[in-house]
Structure formats: structure tokens, C-alpha cells
Symmetry: C2
Subunit: 184 residues, 2 copies
């Protein structure tokens, strides 16, 4: 895990907006914080991704308080941070170039939300040749009414999106499993 980067996606206050619906994994932020503290302690690379929406109604627009990163994932001044305006952390950012330049070929990905920005970024990371682990209990999804008018829970959307990623684009592991694999 010498050069494994921790990629934290969209851990932002605006995603607490109640209009987004019920969310699974209320402990995701605490697990993100645990991962971040261990990464820092080990001197491993940390990369933060901050969504800066251009959508008129988004709480994640750069000028709004919801754009702020939550305290559990607050970046240190020396840590890399890329701002994005679409789902994938690789589109419109210098992320791919930065990872290649710094020879970071393996990534542990956590953040919000499982089925939108985490999944889109994981898929692209894998397709671009990076080895990816997604941390199941350090990501979360919102429930919603589908195109078929059926209500799906955050938990089922979260889990099935991870099932689709696992083995094809990444390995899915828990925070505890990831931390066990990090050399002391």
C-alpha cells in the first residue's frame, strides 16, 4: 500500500439537504475521518475532490455554504484538492495527470454518493488503468423514486451499485478491512 492514494469525493455540507431524501450509512463520515487520520499518520497521499456545481438549484454551488467540506474530511493546506463540476472526478480536473506524475497507481475511494460521483469516478479510475478499492461503509446513497415510480431505499441503491462495481471496476471492502491492509 506504499503509494496507495485516498480519494475523498464530495464530503460536503450541501449533501445534508433534507430534500435529497433518506440516506443510508449515517456513520460514513466517521469512517471517512478514520481513513483520513490513518492515511495522514502513515504519510500516504490524500486527494480531496470538491463538487462545485453549476446547476442553478444545487446546494453545492461554489458561493453557497453547502459547498464547504465537512469537518470530518477537512483538507490540510498541503493536501491536494481538485474542484469538479460533473460527476466524475477525472473530467475537467488535473486528477489523472497528478496521479500518474506521482506514480499513485492504486486508490482507495470513499465519499458521496455511492451511485453518482463515487461510482462514476471509480468506473473511470478503473478504465484508465488504476487499481481501485471502494470502502462500502465510508460511502452512502440517497433513496429515491425511480423512473418506474417505485420508491427505492438508500440502502438498496447503495448496495446494488457496489455489487455492480465489485470485481469489474474495483474491490469493495469495509473501513476495517482497508485499515488492516495498511502497513503500520
Amino acid at each position: 500500500m506504499q503509494k496507495t492514494g485516498l480519494l475523498l469525493i464530495d464530503v460536503q455540507k450541501g449533501l445534508e439537504d433534507p430534500s435529497l431524501g433518506e440516506r443510508n450509512n449515517p456513520g460514513a463520515e466517521k469512517n471517512i475521518q478514520k481513513l483520513l487520520l490513518v492515511w495522514r499518520k502513515r504519510g500516504l497521499p490524500v486527494v480531496h475532490i470538491q463538487h462545485c456545481s453549476t446547476e442553478p438549484d444545487s446546494k453545492l454551488r461554489p458561493e453557497l455554504p453547502g459547498n464547504k467540506i465537512k469537518s470530518e474530511a477537512q483538507p490540510l493546506p498541503e493536501e491536494m484538492l481538485f474542484k469538479k463540476s460533473v460527476n466524475s472526478a477525472f473530467i475537467g480536473t488535473g486528477l489523472e495527470k497528478y496521479l500518474r506524475k506521482n506514480e499513485i497507481w492504486t486508490l482507495v475511494i470513499a465519499g458521496l454518493t455511492t451511485d453518482h460521483c463515487v461510482s462514476a469516478s471509480t468506473r473511470m479510475a478503473s478504465d484508465l488503468g488504476f487499481e481501485v478499492t471502494v470502502v462500502s461503509d465510508a460511502t452512502a446513497a440517497f433513496g429515491r423514486i425511480g423512473y418506474d415510480d417505485i420508491l427505492y431505499s438508500g440502502e438498496e441503491i447503495h448496495t446494488i451499485n457496489l455489487v455492480s462495481l465489485d470485481g469489474e471496476f474495483c474491490n469493495v471492502r469495509s473501513t476495517e478491512e482497508v485499515l488492516r491492509a495498511i502497513p503500520a
Copy 2:
């Protein structure tokens, strides 16, 4: 729909391999054929994507019979075809450049499989700025045992992956709905 392109992804014989598990939407290929015939009749652009795997055990390796495109989606010599080796049709191909050069800004996507190559390609198309419709009954997914050791059906994987795409990366529509929207 003047310049709406039909993007057909991985409609290939190797995806009939029984080892892939049970699949939903047995009628997906017939719907793909319906879409293709209407696109040709209207003179709208058609783009085929063919997966050429580099994985040792894949039935979609270029030298194997499973690499062949199924009869329902057989490309005409004058239609565009891009070969890819990862999930997204936009990585390692000239697809994005071709679409921009030909001013094709809206895409109707169908093919296999819903949660792997169709979802990865839809997400990138949207993030790159294209307007996307995914055709729910002209795509399909395989059931599998998840990272949590639970068996998920092709139908639930298919549906929840479409729920995650709909409204964020694309609109999800049926073949009939798409064909109704095409000018005669």
C-alpha cells in the same frame, strides 16, 4: 431528434456464455434491432461499439467467435464502429471526437450490459456534455453473487442501475417511447 445518434454497445455473441449467469430482458436484442431499423430508415447516425477484451478468459477476445456482433445489431459497412477494451466506449477510442466533429449532441444508448459498459458509457457521455437517453428494454444485466455473498437477480441489478442513471446522467425510456419521439 435530427442529429440523435444511436449508440449500440457490446451486442456480442460472447455475452451468451452461460457462465455469466441468468439475464433479464430476453427481448433486448429484438428491441435493439427495432431501434436500428428505424434509425437506418430515418438516415440518423448509428455508432456501434465492439468490446475487444484483453482478459485471458474473456469470450470477447478479438480472435474468438464470441467477439462477433449478434445478427440483430450487425453493422452495415458504412456505419461507424469503434473497438474498445475497457468498459467506457469513450476511453481509448475516437468516439468523443467523432461525435463532436459530426455535431451529434444527443445519444440514445442501448446494448449490454446495463450495469457495466452501458452505465460506464452513459455516465461519461453525460459528464462530457452529451444529452443521453438509455433504453430500458434494449439493455440487460446478469445476476450475480455480491461482495456480501447475497445473490442478486439480473432484473434488480438492471433496474437499480437505471434508477441511479435516470435524472442524473440520462433519461430512461422504453423502446416504444423512444420510437414515438423520432420524427417520421
